[in-house]
Symmetry: C2
Subunit: 466 residues, 2 copies
């Protein structure tokens, strides 16, 4: 067995985490019957734990029949019982020569969070408390629960430099929902909107549904072509300044000021989608555009990347010029996000759990990001350029090969690995070489290791049937 590494959580005993991780690898068939395990000493060194810790984990696994010790020879995986074998069949790909699609082994999907480090107990506690509040049994506040809005106002000031009244925050369920609602208001004053190319499709569709014309602002690997702005028709700009989607570039302070100046000059608005600013691994995050000028920026944030996509909790901060009109236009609408989740999140933030969670996840995602980048570099060297490795929950990889995006995806799939295209993000522009998106937030270190190994096989060797 190769070295076995994975990030440790500070919340559970270490021996237990080692035990669980190994058990999972055995049950899922990543470790097979009679595979040898690293020695107690070696594993302790790799994971930087004491030998006692690894010994305890191994003893537990021996006791439960997962592995056996063979004296000096070391530890080996036991034959598995029927119940595990069934699972194994379902998850381990068999690389057939008959052109069958093998079972999905590693999914480099973005848009997921790490379940292993989710603060399940704390969240459950707060959620159960929220269920006992009287406020949970009536219709909530139409524009969001005041308790959550106050917490958000504080957080936005501290973390993003955005000064705003809690009253200027509108809670919503998703970025698209908020863009759609907002568009219903803005379409009275604007007929078109500038969007990044490449850029986020969800936003584009939300604008299109409202009948906006789309004007493409080209974005290159090093950033948006802002010098083109003055020649554009629209006075409305949708942009991702902190972490461009998908290229991952961050706008400099100078660029931010350019954009604000432009908005003032044309009497327009900037919609700033700050979807994953929490995860920046190098320097401190730059302050949001909205921190430079309130009056021109509509700020949008979400808990989908930083916490949990399933709770469907997003928010926007409206400039005063729009706030009253927005509240008027939607005065008879009910809130879209669950008030239970809102009240839970408010308590979670109030008790400092949110900051703790973000700090913890930043460390874990940083480790994963570094490991992924390191593995990719090791296997592909100069044949690959890696983009956007300093922040966010995915990287882009540009492959210098004579294969199309589609061919690369197909080949990866034949090795049980799912990688994602970026071509749908392009409007008019297109990338000269294929660029793929690899999300890692949900994957373990072991997954990342295996995934890159398989990609190396898939993209380096010709496939059996070719």
């Amino acid at each position: 067995m190769n070295d076995f590494i994975f990030p440790m959580s500070p919340k559970e005993p270490k021996y237990k985490q080692i035990y669980q991780q190994l058990k999972m690898l055995i049950e899922q068939g990543n470790l097979k019957s009679n595979d040898s395990l690293p020695s107690i000493r070696r594993l302790a060194e790799t994971l930087q734990v004491s030998r006692n810790t690894t010994l305890t984990a191994y003893e537990q696994l021996v006791a439960e029949g997962y592995i056996r010790g063979e004296g000096r020879k070391g530890y080996f995986v036991n034959e598995l019982e029927q119940v595990f074998l069934q699972q194994e069949e379902a998850t381990v790909p068999t690389l057939s020569t008959k052109q069958e699609q093998p079972t999905l082994k590693i999914d480099f999907r973005a848009g997921a969070v790490d379940q292993a480090y989710f603060p399940l107990k704390t969240w459950r506690q707060f959620a159960n408390r929220a269920l006992q509040l009287e406020d949970s049994f009536v219709y909530g506040e139409p524009f969001g629960e005041p308790l959550l809005k106050e917490q958000l106002a504080q957080y936005l000031l501290q973390a993003r430099g955005v000064k705003c009244d809690a009253e200027a925050i509108i809670i919503g369920s998703s970025t698209q929902q908020m863009l759609l609602y907002l568009g219903c208001l803005l379409k009275h004053d604007f007929t078109s909107v500038i969007v990044e190319d490449p850029g986020y499709i969800g936003a584009r569709q939300a604008f299109k549904v409202n009948g906006f014309e789309l004007e493409a602002l080209p974005v290159l690997e090093h950033g948006a072509q802002l010098h083109l702005l003055p020649d554009m028709q629209s006075r409305l700009l949708y942009i991702t300044p902190s972490h461009h989607f998908p290229y991952g570039v961050t706008m400099t302070i100078q660029q931010r000021q350019t954009v604000i100046q432009w908005a003032k000059k044309v009497d327009g608005y900037i919609i700033e989608d700050d979807y994953d600013s929490e995860f920046r691994y190098g320097q401190q995050p730059f302050p949001a555009l909205a921190s430079i000028d309130h009056s021109r920026v509509i700020y949008i944030g979400t808990f989908s990347k930083s916490f949990l996509p399933g709770i469907r909790l997003s928010y926007m901060v409206l400039p005063k010029s729009l706030l009253y009109r927005y509240k008027e236009q939607f005065s008879e609408f009910e809130q879209n996000a669950s008030s239970l989740h809102q009240l839970t999140m408010a308590a979670f933030m109030d008790k400092g759990e949110w900051t703790r969670h973000i700090k913890r996840m930043r460390i874990i995602y940083k480790q994963k990001m570094h490991y992924l980048v390191e593995q990719l570099k090791q296997h592909f060297g100069n044949d690959m350029t890696i983009l956007g490795e300093h922040s966010g929950l995915y990287v882009l990889i540009k492959l210098h090969v004579h294969l199309t995006e589609d061919q690369l995806i197909q080949r990866a799939a034949q090795y049980g690995v799912k990688v994602y295209p970026t071509s749908p993000f392009f409007l008019k522009c297109s990338a000269a070489e294929p660029v793929l998106q690899l999300g890692f937030s949900k994957l373990t270190m072991e997954d990342i290791y295996q995934g890159v190994q398989l990609l190396a096989k898939a993209w380096r060797r010709p496939l059996n049937n070719e």
Copy 2:
């Protein structure tokens, strides 16, 4: 003390419920120091429990110092400690003569559910389980979780006669959100929509935001003026057939067929808002419009009235002619409703808890409705007409007095009672006499009793300062 009555839950020991109810009345100051309590025999008769049960409850309260027994004289409320007195000040209205608004005592708000009978433990159990599913850590299905859609398809067939594929169901977070999204599609084919007058304002606003013209279909106390339909311009009709909002009338089968025929003839659609069909207290509910003709009806339902408004869970069933276009138009949108709540509700329905809950609540709400109507009749007799008492979670009361709606609301407020206007629901029509809305779902029997007592005082006697 007057007779003391409240509905009993089958889930908790009866003595405990009596104990809790009395404790609450004492803590909230409804029962004051030295007030006498009903005798053990009398309370047992009123509540139809054994004397042992009331005795046990009283003994518990004596032990805890809330009340005292004085031999043959009976039981009395004790002086309260400081902690309770503070609470008392906050909740008990002091009917001042100085024109101050007294504290709100009884709120006849619709749009709330009964917290006392919420299946807290079961829901919490299912919710905690949902939090451990892998599906909860990724973006959910854009149009709703398949597990929930399958449960809904079954429920709609059994309870509403609506035959539909799970695939034709779109989950959303609120009726307005779904009407807004739907409107984005329908506005390509329709420029105006017929709405009930009086009718639901939230729906009207959703149509207006999308630029639809509104055409008013007059609804009288005995039903919508459907004979006017053929002369109307629009081919789109938004309607509440099972329980007209706000009048509470139900469309007969003949009327339903008339509407369907009309839609076929004009090649239009009917949007059926079936917002609280679960609570019908006389006969069985009539089948939904959508059960008569799939192809012409967009069916909308919600968990806000029947379960919990805070979870923000609604759904619609689209006819085939719209389904594909809808999914196309919103292909890049994420779901608006929490996937955690969706998965929890799916399990809750699957295990039969949903049906059990609805049955239980129907009995409880029916008792409350009967009690409210009985109390109103007793105090107001022929001076009041009660509308919509056979279903739903509110009644309308029409007062035959020379006071305006606003005066009635003000007078009630001066006695600490909040009642709600219906005039905002009218578009062109208006009621000849003031009509008020009284919701009761969140109130206890004691609240209802007190509320009507206070209304009788407020509306019968001239106020001190007049």
